[in-house]
Amino acid sequence: MTVTRSDAAGALRDIEQAQTRAGEMRGYRHAAPYLIGWGLIWAVGYTLMAVRPQPEWGWIWLPLDAAGIIGSILQGRSDNRGGTQAVANCGMRILLGVLFTALFMAATYVLFAPATVAPFIVFPGLIAGAIYVAIGLAWLPRMGWIGFGIFVLSMAGYLFFREWLLYWMAAVCGGGLMLSGLWLRNA
């Protein structure tokens, strides 16, 4: 059997394409439960905000966020069973990522001091959308489309459906994340 340089180059190109595609699909299946879980948390959190008085809002998110973080860490550990040491630290990286995102959002509120409550409601959607777009551009294209969708829908709620903003965020963004998770799970 003779393999020319041209054959070898073509074969290596095929291998790279096949492995990239398989890696992407694997990434989608790993990302799916996070999106479904956080989508559910958003749907529940924003719905409770809509039906409860504003002073209680912080108490609504405290247990929900804690559940989301713990769930994400457990999912990360489950994903990395038998993995390398680098991926074994995934839980800690998720926790640090969530904490830094919360810090970034708090700093933004301090800097820009929104005069009404609506920007506080929409901002998590913009941040999540931006993070997913970044992941999409770097690794997983479908995540980019999901992030762009969440970003646009959050802004659309703010601009056109402000009276129903909490229900909008629960149904469209929370529900959208869950549907996106199902889409990725079947990738």
Binding site: M1, R5, A11, A18, R21, M25
Partner: protein, 97 residues
Amino acid sequence: MSAPDEIIHQSLRLKIMATLNVGCADGPMEFTRLRGLLKATDGNLGSHLATLEKAGYVTIDKDFVGKKPRTRVAITPAGAKAFRGHVAYLREVLDSV
């Protein structure tokens, strides 16, 4: 120089092995998922998988989920080793003057 692996070198079998080498990190891959990733037909994929199974490079398990039949494919350690060896050979060919 390493030797080429004639079983793996065929175009679709090469893609099957490359896909399974990454995709089986979480366990066996369903036949339907593999078919979707490779955009191959049932018959073509099945025949090349049979060749790889005969060589001991993949395992094919058939079972039922409820009443629905399921076929799962996994790369074997021998298959992963042969694939790595063939990739090394291809790189050597490409780097040779």
